[in-house]
Amino acid sequence: MESSDQFNFSLFRPRNLHGRKNRNVILNMLLVWAVAVFGFQILLRIIEKPTPEKALADFNSVWPDATVRDLKTVNYQTLLNSLILVKGKNMVNTDDQMILNKAISTITFSVAPDSLKSKMLSEISEIKELKSKIALSDGQEFLDIKSSILTLEKGFLENTALFTGLKSGSLEEKIYTASLTDEYPAALSDASLDRLPEIMKLYLTHNQSVLTDTLFLGFPFHYFYTAIFLLILFIGLCILYNVLIEWRLKKEGVTE
């Protein structure tokens, strides 16, 4: 009479030699797979260090003084540059963008000569109004508004270049003009800017290590490993498994 136990089967307790060999192949494959995928990420996590960008050091060197007294123009420029570098990242959320815009505008008007301030303010308002119109326009109207914005921005930048220190035609200059607002606090010590150091730290600190800083085929190594190599490994594991299993089946004369 057949016993129920006779057909008991599990991956970890195979019934015969064929099963044991199969189990070994499967467990080894799973081990390689798990270590390659999760082991590498754990390694990344273990060796990473929060690494600030240079812009954060620049910001931190100037910010404490900026909230208590007027700075030299060159220090305002340092501050402005560091803020622009954060504003230019397109992962910044909307609330943080508003705070950065305010800070950039406050610095601009802190540095600008009094004789220019009212003109600058009216130009900013005009650009803002045109930008709200351009979103709803098309065809020739779109081109006309676009041309007006460019003309206004060009004039504005010519007037401010001396004290902002931004290079003409640079990306930073475009980020700068896109950030200006006519609703800004009078001083950098204003409560609405209290979160600024926190925002700068958030966007300018990254988890880096030797694995992220080493380049391989143009990639940061960890990026290459995850985006390219792991997929090659998966295909390789699958081919290896099939070849091993079919070789064994053939050798043992097993027909599926």
Binding site: F9, G169, L230
Partner: protein, 559 residues
């Protein structure tokens, strides 16, 4: 057959000629070229669907088991590569940096599990559908019914993201409102699935795969060449773009004395943005835990998705089931190696504040547009994205309809039904499901990849543990399976409840805790292991598996 291919070629050539004469407008209006390509592509699918349409239930469910391993591999890849792969994945990397790669790894690494633990054994077991296997293996009508319901729910959740993707592309091409675009796109995909069934779908999937790959690869060669990266293998060439993003490119970037510009005439320049590539960067709002949880959930979910498992019923031999996984994975990887290139180029091209942040789910098409790629090629890319969504949706609707007709209607409600009646019920099931999915897709509940990942977590918590233990442990019995399934469903329900309440602006006790640790995009990290453990523990203390099941497993499934 030759006449069919000839007519397809003629339709495509005429449409290419016509569309070449029209230019693509950038946004918000009807785009003639891409529209012609889309219509020609859909026409091709319908022709193939009619030519290879299902003639009986065996054809409808499992393509009559006539598909070769390479063909099945292409069908697996096409079936797999949905709007989430073609549109959503690049969007996740664009929006969340390195954490987006968890989707790339999760959606490919799961195939290793699928091959090693499932593919051949499922084929050897010899059932048509996932509920068929579960009902038979666990000798339980209740489990068959519950797993059939979950097969429908999983297919449903998966379809929501796809219909969203179809809507986005129809919106982009036709210049329509999103809601109308979803309705039109859904109607077309439903019509196609109804007239084709799986045999037509399987043939179509092979054609769709070619369209997806060709349309997805061509723009990356063009963009890499245009922006002076290594264009011969853009899948490697974009690595330098990633490094450029990390280190920043001061304007203007000059190649052979000519400044590199995007389609708006902006210099290809960017401020240093290490957050794009650095692991779980704080500014992306993602964490190490989330990377691991998403990756694990997607991997395990892959091995539990009914419409993926169902692909192994259509191959003639067990060895074909194994090799079709390898071919399928290879074909999938071709697209997955390429997707990050779109996010990288998209990041570079949208760095100018005048361009601004792009809509994540449309990043692939927008990137090609911003790069100034020919409108014809961008149109083909959009058609490829729609093909990807179509091929997956047809497989999902068939899987859902199979569960409804084969596992609920025939096995439970009306066992004496005729094959003709079964086919009718399958088609009615398809229509009901498509209508319901369309309604949910109109709500825009999340990004495509995120919506799809809900289906993965559901599959990982419910179907995967039943297959894993059902195949690999004869001691797993009906009571254990029911307990394990209950645990999986419980975790799923908790996660979904908190998500829905949160969407409505409400708060339940521990809302933040659950939203992070049992997030709806990755709750399987705990749900799947829990379901397995509960299944094992309860099985140990309940009536053993019947002799005939153990014998079948030992002799038929494990030689």
């Amino acid at each position: 057959m030759k006449k069919l291919y000839a007519s397809i070629v003629i339709v495509l050539l005429v449409s290419l000629r016509l569309s070449a004469e029209s230019l693509t407008q950038l946004e918000g209006s009807f785009k003639t070229g891409p529209a012609i390509i889309l219509i020609a592509t859909l026409l091709t699918f319908v022709l193939v669907g009619i030519f290879f349409r299902a003639k009986d239930p065996a054809d409808y469910y499992a393509a009559g088991r006539k598909i070769s391993k390479v063909g099945s591999g292409m069908a697996i890849a096409s079936n797999w590569m949905s709007a989430a792969s073609v549109l959503g994945m690049a969007g996740m990397m664009y929006g969340f940096g390195y954490n987006g790669l968890a989707y790339v790894v999760g959606w490919t690494g799961g195939y290793v599990l699928l091959l090693i633990l499932m593919a051949a054994q499922i084929r050897k077991y010899g059932k048509y559908t996932a509920p068929d296997f579960i009902g038979d293996r666990y000798y339980s009508r209740d489990l068959r019914i519950v797993s059939a319901i979950f097969t429908i729910l999983i297919s449903f959740a998966y379809c929501v993201g796809q219909f969203g993707g179809i809507g986005l592309m129809f919106k982009w091409i036709l210049g329509l409102d999103y809601s109308w675009a979803v309705i039109i796109g859904s109607s077309v995909v439903l019509l196609y699935t109804l007239i084709s069934g799986m045999i037509g779908a399987t043939k179509n999937m092979q054609i769709q795969y070619v369209i997806i790959v060709v349309s997805f690869l061509i723009p990356t060669f063009i963009m890499a060449f245009k922006f002076d990266y290594f264009w011969l293998i853009p899948q490697i060439g974009y690595g330098a773009a990633v490094t450029d993003i990390v280190q920043g490119i001061p304007a203007p970037n000059i190649s052979n004395g000519v400044a590199l510009l995007n389609a708006y005439g902006h210099d290809l320049s960017i401020v240093p943005s290490p957050e794009f590539a650095m692991p779980w960067d704080p500014s992306t709002g993602t964490t190490f835990f989330q990377w691991m949880a998403i990756c694990f959930s997607l991997m395990v979910g892959t091995a539990g998705l009914p419409h993926v498992i169902q692909r192994f019923y259509v191959v003639p031999k067990v060895t074909d089931a194994r090799w079709s996984v390898v071919w399928g994975l290879f074909f999938i990887c071709i697209v997955y190696w390429t997707a990050p290139a779109y996010s990288s180029f998209g990041k570079l091209l949208s760095s100018n504040p005048e361009v601004g942040v792009l809509a994540k789910d449309a990043i692939v098409v927008y990137t090609a547009q911003l790069a100034g790629v020919n409108s014809l090629v961008v149109g083909l890319l959009a058609a490829g994205a729609i093909s990807a969504a179509f091929s997956t949706v047809s497989g999902l609707l068939v899987a859902g309809a199979s569960a409804f007709s084969h596992d609920l209607y025939v096995r439970v409600i009306n066992p004496a039904s005729t094959p003709r009646r079964q086919l009718q019920v399958a088609r009615i099931g398809t229509i009901i499901m498509a209508l319901a999915v369309t309604i949910v897709a109109l709500l825009k509940l999340g990004l495509i990849a995120q919506l799809v990942s809900v289906a993965f977590s559901m599959a990982a918590c419910t179907i995967f543990p039943l297959f894993l233990l059902g195949i690999w442990w004869s001691g797993s019995n009906r009571t254990g399976a029911k307990a394990g399934l209950f645990a999986g469903i419980l975790v799923t329900t908790i996660s979904l409840t908190y998500f829905i309440v949160g969407l409505g602006g409400g708060r339940l006790p521990g809302q933040e805790f659950i939203s992070y640790w049992l997030n709806v995009w990755y709750f399987a990290w705990i749900g799947a292991p829990l379901a397995v453990i509960v299944n094992i523990v309860v099985s140990k203390f309940s009536a053993p598996t019947p002799l005939e099941i153990k014998r079948f497993l030992a002799e038929q499934v494990h030689n």
